[in-house]
Symmetry: D2
């Protein structure tokens, strides 16, 4: 089923040990009959990419060979398998990065983000997208309208994570939201909360540039907690002390611990930011105030919705892009991302 | 509006400092036009009663005067206010112990268990029911059918807590349940899980008598964890390792910490048992496996349903009553409850 | 408990038989301890008022005496009962018109709009608000911020009906909506659908003025069906043929029949407009395409939310007010409403 | 990919025009790499089979050639494609009859029963299972435990329809159910309602044998309406007049019309029985009493659950099987089914 004619070499950036990104070449991938070959255009750097860059692989997900990062991507369809009906050569596209089994109860029941057999780009041992071409299952590739740029197209994936978190939180018009953390996900959740009719929407962070971006993108209140206790910081501010929905997007231990006190009685905490340790939580608060703590993992069934939101200019993804680099500048890009230099928020690598 | 004729004295048991219960008398209460006077028959000893008995009042809820415990009660309507339409003198009744404001958004929207202005029996400073007569708002008093004894009637309240937890957990037929803790609430949840069509239902405890009761009441599996790590204990047993719904009914720190690993991907943990401290929780598990952690507090809108379940013999509350005492034996009763002597599960005081 | 000093006379408009409104006087009402006396300012004319005006009472709700219409009102608190804590004399207020029992399972569980014992203003035999003063239960009276005019305040009630319908429909961001009927409720639902992030939102009517208003208020598409078959009309238009949520706000038999074909597979039809007869419905469509048909009746628990939406200028209620009259012009106002003259949409009577 | 060696002939029953079933032979089917070859054992006759038999094809689904009926089947895996991992040769199995596309938004979001591209056995032009062998996608084939007979295995499909309807109805313990129609689906819903903790469960029909079966299978009340108005029939009986959930399983026009009056305020009607015409419905009742009318179509994601229910003897499918025939007696079997002779409920054809 494979076409073995070509031995064409393509450019790639490998992670080869902690903080070591190497530019190299590899064979151009071939495609199966239900796949498309995508010429990769823009790829965003995600927090998980930075974590692998920093550590060279985690305990749970070790990296044992030169490895390709990157899972937030846009590109152009260059070739399609014979069974592909939803796409044409030349289509500008965004890519849903998790290839799931389609057969387990999670896949069948629509919660495919929980599939145990998922092959997710840039999640070891599955390679990612800092490479000129990737093959991908056509069903997971979405056509972009012309009005969405490739850089914006690379942001459909993180926007889907944000959209999914808001949908799961059951936020309704006139409910209030608190967003802990004004990173890319927090800034996207902020906008989707506003689109959902939430108010007031309050955003907390320790970075005044990110908070200024939050303000620009529609936050009703922003608060710089200056690394102090956030319960106290809110109490001393003009902001409400309790919210219908709290979105925890920091993954910071102390913030997770505090989040439990910031939801209203009967409210919801959407857990989005990952902390890989144990957090001291006062579970009595969860009971006494009947809080609903909902884990929300990646996304499912929302790529199409998010593309429509960006197409209609309801969701501004462009404003969170602070830096763009070419593939051969990838090391500099990761250094900026790793050390959070230059007020970076979302950094895009233009692969080709 | 009050009828001041009588100065009739009635029997009462006061808590007067830690582990000091005193039999005494007090004035017979008077009733308002929307209240009934209830001759108290049977009152169950709840874990919260034991906590006040042991401590003489908690930091959050101090007790500063002789105080009456008890909020799980049945009785007979002896007198009714002129506006009372739902009850007649002579009715055998169970009592919903929380008098809520009826005006706040929680009350109006049906989540009255979250009302901030609630006056809940035996929750300081509101006196409870180890007393011959209480007055209570008639709307919160429910007629018992003849086939339900007074002792069983005293168990309508804890059964409501259990029923409410199961309803909130969204348990559906053929979903599996794990019940952590085979105390009264755990044993009631077990039965209501079975009534809801759940299987298998597995119950864990460290007390073999309680587990034998769980078996008798329908548990598909029971496991004595012998104070060992429960994740390991399950892994080494014939029971499933993960469940659709986990009911945490122990309030034990280490069990709460472990519970997070025992729900299936996409599953639910209903938090019922209260631990008044901080618990180390691996919140990454909540995200990666998209767990829903739901606090469930007391109950709302289920007393009528529970009475029907007991009436139809679907819910066996009698089997969890291990001891009954008269009011003048209350100190012995609390000692047994406090030290968990004599395989006690639910202890009933027959007040009159 | 009543204060019987005054025999002060106040102005009132009675309905005394079909199409016969009579200006008269009546005694100023007295208040109970949990009530407030409201000087009525603005009252909207609702479709149900027009129905009673036209018929002089319906078979199911006959009117057997001079009767006061009007249940969409704002006013000023002139006096308060001694138990009233949520309001002060001088407060500008909107009024939730249904006084419910507070004791039935519907009231207790938060679905008080379904209370069988409700006393709803201007629903025979309960008098309404085309009168200088009414007494009302204080818990159902909501303070208006200064930025909301009395005319706008009169629209909180219909806006609540619209808001409640949207909440019940489970509309989420990026879902599409079809609104059948651009009367006051349809125009309010349109705006709340937009606030909820719905798109596209399409509005159908046979009145081009109302459709121009829909366009102004944010409709993505409007379509004049010119009394033709609406399924065909949509098929011949640029609009989508099927929608995630259809809001039926016409109460017109043929439109109700057609609505079933306009929801997507798995979609929802919110039934809002009342037709008092039998409608031929192809229920096979409900099954084959798994449609969810949800009745939505009046509103519950949303007055506070709606006031916030108007306060924040998210909901424009002013634009749907086309006419205002003084109380002594009420007959002319009802004639215009009855015959739909002068492009009327919402007509307000300024009672005092 | 196909193995063209064999020209083996297998037995089959064709429908060749209205009420004309012809025994014949056909080629043994071949399998693709993700399929299994199933030796068909037992096949149930469904109402839809009878409809095609009676009419020789409907307007919407015409039959233009000899056609194979039957979609409720069990069998044995005789051969498997090389990609099949979930099954082994020799497995006893039940078959989910709808092959869906796996790519549309309905498939991806878990509502695959709404897939527009479904190929459903015995739904023209897709042939069914009254044939010795069928090939089928392995993902839709479920292993049966030894304790479930082939005849019972044929009933997993209709049981799934019933289970799905109950899950969609949101029936909870202590809620009451009314089941209109005691055919196979009604009798299965009855049992699953009981498993879900519903009471009382009342079943209506015009066939006293079927009602006796309902009684045997756990109905709390049964009522023979003798073709009279069912609202009146209930009003004159000992049964409740209104129910939390009404399951409409008759597909009879007048019963559908009446069902609207039999749900409680705020209750649910699950529409299961298909009537291929327009039904006069009083939609005002849907609004005034805020009824939720839910279409429920075939099933999704419940085969595994249902097999467990039968395995654990919680669901008695055997009792509704009244007749079994061999394949060469199929004409007699359909005549009995068509004319409802001999108190037939579910008729099974033992194909091999």
């Amino acid at each position: 089923m494979k076409d073995n004619m070509t031995n064409e070499k393509i450019k790639v950036a490998y992670l080869d040990g902690a903080r070591n990104l190497v530019l190299s070449t590899k064979d151009k991938p071939e495609i199966k009959e239900d796949e498309v070959l995508i010429k990769v255009k823009s790829v965003g750097i995600c927090g998980s990419d930075v974590l692998y860059y920093r550590t060279g692989g985690t305990k749970r997900r070790p990296i044992t060979r030169p490895f390709i990062l990157g899972h937030e991507l846009s590109g152009i369809v260059e070739k399609k398998g014979k069974k592909v009906e939803n796409l044409d050569v030349g289509d500008r596209v965004a890519v849903e990065p998790g290839i799931t089994c389609g057969r387990c109860i999670y896949c069948k029941s629509g919660r495919y983000n929980l599939c145990r057999s998922v092959k997710f780009l840039a999640t070891p041992p599955v390679d990612g997208a800092f490479v000129e071409y990737i093959s991908h299952k056509a069903d997971l590739v979405y056509r972009l309208p012309d009005c969405i740029s490739f850089d914006e197209g690379a942001l459909i994936e993180p926007s889907s994570v944000a959209f999914y978190a808001v949908i799961k939180s059951d936020l309704k018009p006139s409910m209030s939201s608190l967003i802990l953390g004004a990173g890319p996900i927090g800034l996207l959740i902020l906008q989707i909360a506003k689109i959902s009719g939430s108010f007031p929407v309050c955003v907390l962070d320790v970075d005044s540039y990110r908070l200024s971006l939050a303000k620009k993108l529609g936050a009703d209140f922003t608060l710089n907690t200056n690394n102090k206790d956030i319960v106290q910081a809110l109490a001393n501010s003009d902001c409400d002390n309790e919210y219908d929905v709290v979105f925890e997007c920091t993954g910071v231990e102390t913030v997770i611990s505090s989040s439990i006190f910031l939801a209203k009685r009967g409210g919801t905490i959407a857990m989005v930011g990952i902390f890989d340790g144990v957090t001291p939580l006062r579970t009595k608060e969860i009971i006494d105030r009947e809080i609903n703590v909902k884990g929300t993992y990646r996304s499912a069934n929302v790529f199409g919705d998010v593309i429509k939101l960006v197409e209609r200019k309801m969701l501004d993804v462009k404003s969170i892009i602070t830096h763009t680099f070419n593939l051969d500048e990838i090391e500099k890009a990761f250094e900026i991302a790793d050390k959070r230099l230059e007020n970076c928020v979302k950094i895009i690598i233009r692969v080709s």
